[in-house]
Symmetry: C2
Subunit: 731 residues, 2 copies
């Protein structure tokens, strides 16, 4: 007992020391700022950080470009109806709430979401720069004495309206405080600490993760639960590769009490730390492999884009509003492209963002079955988006945008460099033609492809998601999701496949001694409120079908394109079939090109994967929005989150799938297209200890939107336009 | 008559003048070179070129970087067993042939292919740099007095062996002389000239194309035929947009006689020239749209790759042999990647190239049904690959490789800058991880992605195919095909869709007044002789299947990966199914990783399309190699061309499909993987008058090939490594 108490004392002392240290190191704002920002010292534990991995940078790292941390947002003011809440607005909201009966008289409360309540679409569409700013409102989701409330706060009148109290099923997105407090909770348990020590892990080496429980029935009802699993970070920053396998602690998120401890892995060794660390500063110098000379995207005259009023991006023939969001990560609004003939800006997308993610793991055993993450609705895809690393996450000349969010107590905090914007040129070709030897004409015309990328990278614990919105001058928008980061692995007694009995299935791949990479899927569902030259659009399936000829031609068959306009939602529940191909057009039936084609954009799928889980499987019920690759719904302000507003432990009654079942009319209406990008991931050894990026994408491509190739008249590259560069060494 | 004769005279005079002009302008070699090269003056008509489109470059084009034309290849000597035939070798072959009875005594002959006959794989694999070069042989395909011969010429012994004479069906790839002479043939026809003039086209404005006839029965048997269709190039270089619709001239390729003229388009106007030209030099200055500032990939210390002995490419952890090929375009051989742990070079691919293309158009009418191109076997994918445009086709620091080929009379000629090699960096991320607010550790590790690209662009008349072989440091090879260039369009009386009767189908999209972009598919089939750590490999289907649980878990289902080793060819005839997904591994069953996984590479499909034509349709019989997305065959030196060696007018008896039907054993054997990349192309107005590039790709990705992430130890970018650049203006 003595020993154990001493250990606990040590641990607590250690933690406290670090609270102070962290606040000094990480305070995410300019101390000189007058605005009240989240004060870490007063708001442990979420600010707590073991800084043991804050490596002192060796000299050769000194010159690394620093992100522009500590940008002062105290004086930010909104300019555009869609601009996110400012530091001052968030502070005002906190004041309004705290003076309201609901909060004044309540023992405990936490704010799970404090976001701009966007004005009605009609008003935003009418609004022009220079007009008076539309009334500012905030949508707040709060848990008060264990009850979820959706509130609207009017920032002009300081009025608070309760929109809804309670909910059929599900809880709001976790706060960061929920997650960080949950991972400390088990330490209060004698049994837990004993187990850890019995596993040979020093409590000071413990790193734990909060894992959403999902919903499987009674057990997960009427209380907010989380499962905590732990790792040893002894001798590595990559503790994810050192699971204390089979140990799962069920914690009540509201009371922070340990509800249940399940330990089925006593006989499973903790994998070794050797070769798991990925930090450059820890590499032995002789093992460092510099494979290529320095290479960079260079723009001697600087980037071609401007960002007005912090959020309005203007580049080449594009204009759009860009803002960070705690749940979605990045929101693109009012994307317009300039018509090369008329010069007018034409609407393409009213609003686009990552609505939800669904990541089911494929191991039904006790410590794994519940791992079916919904990273946006459970963890906050934006909350997990960390500062980008200049020159590595984004190239030279990138612009970095900060996120301003609210902590659980309502105080604002700044997430620096959360989003970057940069121009991309990788040597690709926009269009080309050269005449062949057949005609022999001396013609070669080639145009290089330059694009604009909006990027964020969310680190949802082990995994890193890189989301790119790439705008092309030819009107195409490419949306790419890259997967990197670290696998969620499982401990095993096996060192080698030759020890595994033939009839035993590992649920994954043996990646290293005692480490299994468990098979899982990733689904990323995008909300795309398309407004092609106006809000009222139709969804057209252009089916490509074989036609048999009947003797009139030497050909027996050819392919015919048949246009089918989707009348209702069920007509637009799309499952891709390689042998029943279609194009999927969003058209404006009231607007035609010169020669009479309806203007449109098409959704072009790249490689993707479909969820194969049983539709009655609880995780798939909650992730039912992945039952199709495309859905189309009529615009409805309340239908933005594919898994429902309250996803955490939800039963899946309120998802895109249930909305679509209403089969509402979608022809020549303001419609929303939902696209799901999927990955099946069978891990391989190359993914150990950190994964090379795997990407998939889809396109929104103009189809008879322009009268002709919109980049016909762009010039090629000329030698005398390009930079003259010298290496800094020789400079 | 007088008038007509005068016109003809004018035309012939015009042509002759241009023969001389062209030879002066285009002579594709250094005149000072002593080696005998193809002499255009003596070899009209294929050198003939109307140089009317050789625009005098305005001043602002003056500084455009010139490709390094006129590189002298007279002194080239082979260093590697796979090096292509040199100028001297081709000249020697011509001498050997001309002194052989077969050619001496024959009235007419033409060489359709003069290529290196690669030494046996076993010998090449044994050969090391420094060893004596293996005996050099050439494989020659010649047509002598109307009979096809396959010959082998031994360059050491000057011996000529007749391998085969005659063939079941099909003819060799056309020579450039075939194509260029065919397009002049119709002018000998009074009827043709009258029709052209009746259509209001000046003969001097005529541009014609040689269109392979395919095979549909008796009509196309026992004689070599081609169909010629023509366009008006009045007031535009983009004559493809001005078809003389419905006029098809059937020409005998051997006699150059007009066999038949079909004219079903008299009532169809020739579309206007307005807005069809795409050349920068023709743009009105005020209409030129410069959308972005100059941007460039810069490497202050230069590129990181070297090219030894003209063909051996060494970059980062990769090494491979690269050569241009008249039929395939580009051939990659002996691709090896360096193991980061052992430092050894490990085999991945023995040989990879574009084996065949299949481009069926979807209009069964008289002037269109036969358009089902096979660009490699009919036209020569490499013969059509034109010089790349530096800074536009390929970025700064690209290396350009020339092709050396033989003309029909056996004289060598040089295709300058046919292939480029460059390093690509577009701001992408190789791998990354940052710790999240959950743990709060101050860790952000990101590595930029830099790759090496081998590129060629083939202009098969109107269309441009950009083929990229992209090598990544993480061991992945991405093969991308980009489609650009100009559509094959159809004339129509319609100006606007509102004139088209509801029940009339256009077989495509109305792109502009009187212009229809006809629907078509593109299939590009790759030959991939994988040698994963050795020649004997197995093909494994890793099927991802749903498993129902039976009460032991709260989960009802999960996905299980089941490995099935393909025993014979039919086991490896793969059709992709989104709802029956699989991974496709090429493994070495005799070599395992430290923890016991077989080393392998997997074929990863991006977006693709499948051919839906009737399998009994003549074009699909000939293109039967597109009946599956993947095939695997045992290595057989004679099975390299998916459509058969003699594709032109073939009946499809000899294709990948027929070979695979033999169902030979492929387990733990030297196997070849065939992958087909497909596109359905429904044209849209953005494709007019020239198409923005559309791309699709597939990957060859290491799967348990390395013990762990092979780029774990590469450094990130550091500010002080990157260049300092100034714009040339200010320089």
């Amino acid at each position: 007992m003595e020993g154990r108490n001493f250990l606990r004392f040590l641990f607590l002392f250690f933690s406290c020391a670090l609270v102070l240290l962290y606040t000094w190191v990480h305070l995410p704002y300019d101390p000189s700022s007058s605005a009240k920002l989240h004060d870490c010292t007063a708001n442990a534990p979420w600010c707590v950080s073991k800084n043991r991995f804050q490596t002192k940078k060796p000299n050769f790292l000194k010159n690394r470009l620093k992100p522009n941390r500590h940008r002062n947002h105290a004086a930010d003011v909104p300019h555009h109806p869609l601009d996110p809440l400012t530091v001052q607005e968030i502070n005002k909201i906190r004041t309004i709430l705290s003076s309201h009966a609901l909060f004044k008289n309540s023992a405990t409360y936490a704010l799970h979401s404090v976001e701009l309540e966007e004005p009605d679409k009609a008003l935003v569409l009418k609004w022009k720069r220079g007009d008076k700013l539309l009334p500012r409102k905030a949508s707040v989701i709060a848990r008060v004495n264990g009850v979820s409330h959706v509130l609207t706060v009017d920032l002009t009148t300081s009025e608070l309206t309760v929109v809804q109290t309670g909910y059929d099923s599900g809880y709001p997105m976790m706060t960061i405080e929920d997650m960080t407090s949950a991972i400390w909770a088990p330490l209060a348990s004698y049994e837990f600490n004993r187990t850890i020590i019995q596993r040979g892990v020093d409590l000071a080496d413990l790193a734990c993760l909060p894992i959403s429980t999902g919903w499987y029935g009674k057990m997960e009802e009427n209380r907010r639960l989380i499962k905590v699993q732990c790792y040893s970070m002894k001798e590595t920053a990559n503790f994810y590769m050192r699971p204390i396998e089979g140990l799962t602690v069920l914690v009540d998120l509201d009371t922070k009490q340990v509800v249940e401890i399940s330990d089925k892995g006593k006989n499973i060794p903790i994998p070794k730390a050797a070769n798991t660390d990925y930090r450059y500063s820890t590499m032995e110098y002789n093992k460092v492999k510099r494979l290529v000379n320095p290479i960079s995207i260079e723009q001697p005259k600087g980037p071609s884009f401007t960002i007005e009023d912090e959020h309005l991006v203007k580049w080449a023939n594009w204009e759009f509003h860009l803002k960070p969001d705690a749940r979605a990560g990045v929101i693109i609004s009012g994307a317009k492209v300039r018509d090369p003939d008329t010069g007018e800006l034409r609407n393409v997308i009213y609003k686009g963002f990552t609505s939800e993610l669904f990541v089911p793991y494929m191991d039904p055993s006790d410590a794994w079955y519940f791992k079916t993450y919904m990273d946006a609705g459970e963890y906050g895809f934006g909350l997990q988006a960390m500062p980008l690393d200049p020159l590595n996450d984004c190239p030279r000349n990138a612009y970095y945008m900060d996120g301003v969010f609210a902590a659980a107590d309502g105080t604002p905090f700044v997430r620096s460099n959360m989003v970057c914007v940069f121009e991309k040129y990788g040597g690709d070709i926009g269009w080309r033609h050269s005449e062949s030897p057949i005609t022999g004409f001396a013609i070669t015309e080639v145009r290089p492809k330059v694009t604009l990328v909006v990027r964020m990278a969310a680190s949802v614990a082990n995994y890193d998601y890189i989301v790119d919105w790439e705008f092309q001058t030819d009107g195409l928008i490419k949306i790419t999701v890259g997967l990197s980061g670290i696998l969620m692995v499982k401990g095993t007694p096996y060192d080698n496949m030759n020890e595994v009995p033939l009839n035993e299935y590992l649920y994954g791949t043996l990646l290293s001694e005692n480490v299994i990479g468990v098979i899982h899927d990733h689904y990323v569902t995008f909300y795309l409120d398309m407004d092609v030259d106006g809000s009222d659009n139709s969804f057209v399936k252009v089916n490509i079908e074989r036609q048999q000829t009947s003797g009139e031609s030497p050909r027996k068959s050819y392919l015919k394109a048949k246009r089918n306009v989707a009348k209702t939602e069920k007509d637009a529940q799309i499952k891709f079939k390689l042998y029943e191909p279609s194009e999927y057009h969003v058209i404006n039936p009231t607007k035609k090109t010169r020669v009479g084609n309806p203007v449109g954009y098409k959704v072009v799928s790249g490689g993707t994967a479909a969820s194969l889980l049983d539709h009655e499987d609880p995780p798939q019920k909650r992730g039912a929005f992945t039952n199709n690759q495309i859905w189309v719904t009529p615009y409805n302000k309340t239908e933005q989150w594919a898994g429902g507003l309250f996803v955490y432990q939800s039963h899946g009654q309120e998802t895109l799938a249930t909305w679509s079942e209403r089969d509402r009319s979608i022809e020549n209406k303001d419609i929303v297209v939902w696209y799901t990008l999927g990955f099946h991931h069978i891990p391989c050894q190359e993914d150990f200890p950190i994964m090379p990026t795997v990407s998939a994408s889809f396109d929104l491509k103009p189809v008879n939107f322009f009268e002709s190739n919109p980049i016909l008249r762009v010039p090629p590259n000329f030698e005398n336009d390009l930079p003259i560069c010298v290496s800094t060494a020789s400079a």
